[in-house]
Amino acid sequence: MKFRRRSNLLVEPPATATGDIAFNLIVFFLVCVAITPDTGRKQEVPSSEQEKEKSQPMEVLVTREAKHVILDGNIVAIDDFPRALTAALQSKAGSSAEVADLPEKQRIVVISTKDNKDAPYAKWIKVAAMIEDVGAILTLQIEEERTVDTD
């Protein structure tokens, strides 16, 4: 028996479906994009207070120098800074308790750059993180702009 070969086969893909294919491809790639969350640190920025504190808080000066910071006027190597800060806060409070257990007013540490406006952010955030990790309360000191009348 002889079969006749079919000659009118559909050989091209249906053009109507290309839109759907494109759409599904886009959705697929959008879903595949890895949405990685940002990592970092939260920082409580205290509201600016006009009143002067009666007791002088400890001051940490961040400079451009990568290896050291200035803690209450003394140059401290950055690796020793957490230990030095802990000791200084305990000494000031007259207590050997953990810094986090000291009264709130006695663990306020002011971080500033003063005239060292070329201090890089990488160092500033490192020092700020060290202060917070010790258990101290970080306060920022930003230079105020003042207008002085000479008349």
Binding site: P37, T39, V45, P120, Y121, I125
Partner: protein, 135 residues
């Protein structure tokens, strides 16, 4: 003489539907990324301990040229506090997060006024940092 009306096929070409869908999609993707800051160049500072941050209402970037951007658009320091406050309006405490992305070599001259502006606007500051892998 009788003239027969010619029947014209008036279908919408279904082949073009895909293209229309594609263009619509691109349009909405571009719209949604208008306030994005991923086009900005900055290098995050490293810390040995970082945490995952959630969503933030506002993003402030100081890029590698020390220019300040609010939600992807460049802004002057004078307007920053006011603009952040406007964008945070209506957000309750706890949701007033401001994500700060500072290039690691940016100097205090640039990042301190930004932190001050965020503080003035009542924003809850979150520094975006990278985990230091060597520690």
């Amino acid at each position: 003489m009788k003239i027969t009306r010619k029947h014209v096929k008036a279908d919408v070409p279904s082949v073009a539907m895909g293209d229309i869908a594609f263009l619509l999609l691109i349009f909405f993707v571009i719209l949604s990324r208008a306030e994005d800051d991923t086009h900005l160049r900055w290098t995050p500072a490293n810390l040995p301990k970082v945490e995952n941050l959630g969503n933030a209402a506002v993003s402030v970037v100081i890029n590698d040229e020390s220019k300040v951007f609010l939600n992807g658009a460049q802004i002057g320091m004078g307007q920053l506090a006011e603009q952040i406050e406007a964008r945070l309006a209506g957000f309750p405490v706890g949701d007033r997060k401001v994500r700060l992305k500072v290039h690691d070599n940016a100097t205090a001259q640039y990042f301190e006024p930004v932190i001050e502006a965020i503080s003035q606007a009542g924003g809850e500051l979150e520094h975006v940092l990278q985990l230091r892998s060597d520690e």
